[in-house]
């Protein structure tokens, strides 16, 4: 056992000595969490729009004012002719143009209805969908405001309560997501590359003929990274709490336990990758390629899983980060107990077991 | 007394890394066509000196000329005229023998037709003509070493620098290796070689013995042995090493 700890010590020294790598390893979560927490949002705020007002009367200017004060839109261009609409949208300067027909207020009174046309830049389908919905909602709001002034009508009002994230902060989605992504890739890349390096240099053979058992070798390589990744996770969580006011409603111990489970899973994935890769280059490519985009896109980090086609929803179930994100959100934001997360935890543990079994099976022949 | 042409000249060559002095005012010169050995224990400063001469490392001070050019001002002119074989084995393991030859000859500016012609003769001489398409990774160490040397002199440099070329090879291969060195010298290539095998010193025309960054002795093996009244260079070396303590 002493021998084993000596080995762990040597591995830790390797890591600590490489000052630049250490700085990067700790810089990554801090910078990225801060930046993404503040910066990333999938909401539309201050979208640039243009208004083509053929009427310029009281009603259109009231609606315009309402649109621009909604926080969703910013007036980027005031145009006066229909010919300008398409070039303006083509240039990418505005996301949509709102067109009021001539004699707007007059028509509303005389014919009971006037027309607004929204022309949006559909090339970004997601954003187009949103800006049109927002604009429609703002105008709809204006209409019901008008109707309410009619006597005797108190329409059905929906009282909305936003649970778990009252201020609708994007950080609440992006912090757990970034954490899942960073921990997974760092852990998998760290272990797979460092094991592949030993193979490349031929020092793996030296270790294998030493009295250390293969399990001890692998554990010795992984253990320092467990500590490192765990510290990273703690930093991320603390930043989330202090900077973004994320609550930790559930049990802190459970949160730490789950994080440790996820890190171990990521590291065992790294070990599995290293059994497939003979060189560092291959290890880096497998960990980057297999993980970065699939985790980013399928885990629900950016795009909601429920919006995906069914096949991709199934695929997202194969991504460990999917479960981790749900657990973190449940524990931190909803204050759920173990009763609500144990299924996900069992899945993660099962995945980890699978990676370990595969690694052991693939590792064996090398020893003979 | 000597009218031979000097191709390497070091005057007061100093190299410091922080407070550590790796080369402490070295003075020596090497004649054209000579096999010049730089002897010393590990860490004596041999590799540092050799890297300065090859233009891989900047000297802290001193006037050093190789092949007629100053290492400080014209390192690239020097590189045109030398061959180099580093201590660390440095052919591409994922390329074949022929591909390695082609690559290194190519970046020395040789023409393709000439490369083809010469590599055929070279492989034949090494007895590797049937192995031209094999990956370096699949070759035994002895072969790799011989191949690395052949590639280092493939472009007919004036001088070839060999850094511990026989480290880790068996005695038979070492002999064969030295035969190749002799053959290169007979073609007029100056050979500058570092080693910590004292018996190899006997193969050199002249040797320099370094300890702790300083030159302790310089001369032909016979001169050194008679000067120190020793049976072998190994004995000379041990006497010098003891003097220091």
């Amino acid at each position: 056992m002493n021998r084993f700890f000596g080995f762990v010590g040597k591995e830790s020294l390797h890591i600590i000595r490489d000052l630049r790598t250490m700085m990067i390893l700790f810089g990554i979560p801090v910078v990225q969490i801060l930046l993404f927490g503040y910066v990333l949002t999938n909401e539309i705020k201050d979208a640039d729009i243009a208004i083509l007002d053929h009427s310029r009367d009281v009603v259109t200017s009231e609606i315009t004012a309402k649109l621009l004060s909604s926080g969703y839109f910013r007036l980027a261009a005031d145009i006066s002719s229909t010919d300008e609409v398409e070039p303006l949208l083509r240039s990418g300067r505005v996301r949509q143009v709102i067109i009021f027909e001539p004699m707007f207020a007059a028509r509303m009174v005389r014919e009971g209805s006037a027309a607004v046309q929204i022309v949006a830049d559909g090339s970004d389908a997601n954003a187009a969908n949103m800006v049109v919905s927002y604009a429609t909602a703002v105008i709809g709001d204006y209409v019901s405001g008008m109707q309410e002034m009619r006597p005797g009508v108190a329409p059905v009002r929906a009282e909305t309560r936003m649970l778990f994230n009252e201020e609708l902060k994007s950080a609440f989605t992006f912090v757990p997501g970034t954490m899942a992504l960073i921990l997974m890739i760092l852990s998998a890349m760290m272990t797979s590359v460092s094991i592949a390096r030993e193979k490349e240099k031929g020092t793996m053979e030296v270790l294998l003929v030493s009295p250390l058992r293969p399990v001890q070798i692998v554990l010795g390589k992984v253990l320092p990274y467990v500590v490192l990744a765990f510290l990273n996770a703690v930093i991320i969580i603390v930043l989330g709490v202090l900077v973004f006011d994320m609550p930790v409603m559930g049990s802190t111990a459970l949160l730490m336990g789950v994080t440790l489970l996820y890190i171990s899973l990521s590291l065992s994935m790294g070990i599995m990758i290293s059994t497939m890769a003979r060189t560092q280059q291959t290890a880096i490519f497998i960990s980057m390629f297999m993980l970065l985009l699939p985790v980013m896109l399928l885990s629900g980090f950016i795009f909601p899983i429920s919006s995906m086609p069914l096949i991709l929803q199934w695929m997202s179930k194969l991504i460990p980060a999917t479960y981790f994100i749900v657990i973190i959100q449940n524990l931190m934001l909803k204050g759920a107990g173990i009763g609500f997360v144990w299924v996900e935890m069992v899945v993660l543990a099962g995945m980890m077991l699978l990676f370990i079994v595969v690694s052991v099976l693939k590792f064996k022949p090398r020893l003979e | 007394m000597d009218s031979r042409e000097v191709v390497i000249e070091a005057r007061d060559m100093v190299k410091r890394f922080g407070s550590f002095t790796a080369n402490d005012r070295l003075n020596f010169h090497v004649y054209r066509g000579e096999i010049f050995g730089l002897l010393g224990a590990n860490g004596a400063g041999k590799t540092t000196a050799l890297k300065i001469l090859c233009g891989l490392s900047k000297p802290t001070s001193g006037e050093i000329r190789v092949a007629g050019y100053s290492v400080r001002h014209n390192p690239n002119q020097i590189k045109r005229n030398i061959g180099y074989m580093s201590q660390k084995f440095s052919l591409y393991e994922d390329l074949t023998i022929l591909e390695n030859i082609r690559f290194f000859a190519g970046i020395y500016g040789m023409r393709r037709r000439e490369i083809r012609k010469r590599s055929a003769t070279m492989l034949k001489k090494l007895g590797l003509e049937h192995a031209a398409g094999r990956l370096i990774a699949d070759l035994p160490t002895g072969w790799r070493q011989k191949l690395a040397f052949s590639i280092a002199i493939f472009h007919d440099p004036q001088i070839v620098f060999l850094d511990e070329p026989t480290g880790g090879v068996d005695p038979i291969t070492r002999r064969q290796f030295w035969e190749m060195i002799y053959e290169a010298a007979s073609r007029g290539i100056t050979v500058f070689v570092t080693t910590h095998y004292m018996d190899e010193a006997e193969y050199c025309d002249r040797v320099t013995i370094m300890t702790d960054g300083q030159i302790m002795a310089i001369g032909s093996p016979a001169e050194l042995k008679s000067a120190y009244k020793a049976e072998s260079i190994d004995e000379v070396f041990r006497m010098l090493a003891r003097n220091i303590e």
Binding site: T21, I24, I28, Y38, T41, D46, L89, R90, A114, V116, I118, V119, A120, D121, G122, S123, D124, A125, N126, A127, A128, N129, V132, S133, T136, A137, G140, V143, V153, P155, A158, T160, R161, M162, L163, F164, N165, L186, Q280, Q281, T282, F285, M288, F289, L292, L293, L297, S306, M308, L333, F340 | I82, Y84, S90, L91, D94, E99, F103, G106, Y108
Partner: protein
């Protein structure tokens, strides 16, 4: 020039010899592109709504049926407040609609009544949309009731994926036969450049760029460091090769591989997803070339100043993630705070993404993207220049 050719030849040999790497470089990106692009949508297709109807009246049934009629909501019925909370906790519902007891009575007596929406707001954007969608249906129901209408009108906030559809409240043909509610403002909309709002078209170039950049940047960045680790760099440094020749020789093979990869992905997108290529293909490749100079130049630069592969790959991972997530590929950039937008000036992805999408999807010409092209060109030259400068043949 000849010297550079020899390096080219060697690099290609090394890339194509590695049997594990080859499929990863050539096939994986295309497969990932084609599969993952389908995941990139915010469009809420099915919202899980749990209904807690404590009133169980005709009017409350009518409200619920409005949601049932909407293609966006998938309904389950609950019996107790406790079940409602549990549904939100275990994610079986995104939103709970609570209709209080006495709903119908209040409606009749006061002409209106409140209902409650409990939304799981962890994903703030989705929550906002759910609120919007549900609010629209409820408001429409409310004004229909107020105007005396009751029939089963289709959900009025409308499927936005159909062009030129009326979103505004009230449709004239109502089977109930009661007087049609004419909305005072009729809102119609039209989507230019992509009338059916296929989000894949917008995401394809983005994901393609990410994949091509990963391949190109990692290949170049690992390359020089690997020669350092294996010691072959010393052998090269002892040759008369010039610094710019070395860097160029390292750049071109990966530039070619990345361009090839890009072309392959574009072709696949074109064939399988009807990806439009409205602008000039030359311009597409010109701007891609300029961008790759930046990406690979940065890769080479990082490689020249790093000492091992682990270090360089973490550094690249760091920058890549920042660049990608701030580029506007997935999320809109105008919602970012002012200071972040200023930092984003150094993000090459931002310029490239904007220009590439404009050329492909809107048929923008060279005039429209001159600024981006110029910026990328300058950026690339600087990155490569610094890479040449920082690559040390002689150790101090």
């Amino acid at each position: 020039m000849r010297t550079i050719l020899f390096i080219l030849q060697k690099e290609f040999l090394q890339v194509f010899r590695n049997r594990t790497m080859l499929p990863m470089i050539l096939l994986m990106p295309v497969v990932q592109l084609l599969v993952l692009v389908n995941a990139a949508t915010f469009e809420l297709k099915s919202i899980d709504m749990a209904v807690l109807d404590s009133d169980r009246s005709l009017m409350s049934h009518e409200l619920v049926s409005r949601f049932e009629g909407s293609p966006y909501f998938k309904l389950t019925h609950l019996l107790s407040q406790g079940a409602a909370e549990a549904a939100l906790y275990d994610n079986s519902a995104d939103v709970v609609l609570v209709i209080p007891g006495g709903f119908e009575r209040t409606m009749v007596r006061e002409g209106g009544a409140p209902v409650q929406l409990l939304i799981n707001a962890i994903d703030g954007m989705a929550a906002g949309l759910i609120d919007l969608y549900a609010g629209n249906i409820i408001a429409e129901y409310g004004s229909d009731m107020a105007l005396g209408g009751s029939g089963d009108s289709p959900a009025g906030f409308g499927g936005l994926s159909q062009p030129d559809e009326t979103i505004g409240q009230g449709k004239p043909d109502r089977p109930g036969g009661l007087k049609p509610a004419l909305s005072p403002i009729e809102v119609t909309h039209r989507f230019l450049f992509n009338p059916t709002l296929k989000y894949t078209i917008y995401m394809l170039p983005g994901i393609l760029v990410i994949l091509v950049t990963i391949v190109g940047m990692f290949l170049t960045a690992i390359n020089i460091v690997r020669e350092k680790e294996q010691g072959t760099i010393e052998q090269i440094n002892a040759t008369p090769i010039l610094k710019y020749q070395f860097i160029t020789g390292k750049l071109i093979p990966f530039l070619i591989i990345a361009l090839f990869e890009f072309a392959l992905g574009l072709l696949a997108a074109y064939l399988l997803f009807d990806m439009p290529v409205l602008g000039s293909l030359w311009l597409v490749f010109l701007i891609t070339f300029a961008f790759l100079l930046v990406a690979l130049g940065l890769g080479l630069l990082l490689s020249a100043i790093s000492s091992n592969q682990q270090q360089v790959s973490f550094t690249i991972f760091f920058f890549l993630l920042l660049f990608i997530l701030m580029s506007g590929i997935f999320t809109p950039t105008e919602s970012m705070p002012e200071w972040a937008q200023r930092i984003n000036i150094i993000n090459p992805f931002k310029y490239y993404m904007r220009a590439l999408r404009m050329i492909l999807l809107k048929g923008a010409g060279i005039v429209d993207v001159t600024r981006d092209l110029l910026f990328l060109g300058i950026y690339g030259s600087i990155a490569l220049g610094v890479a040449v400068w920082r690559y040390r043949k002689v150790r101090a």
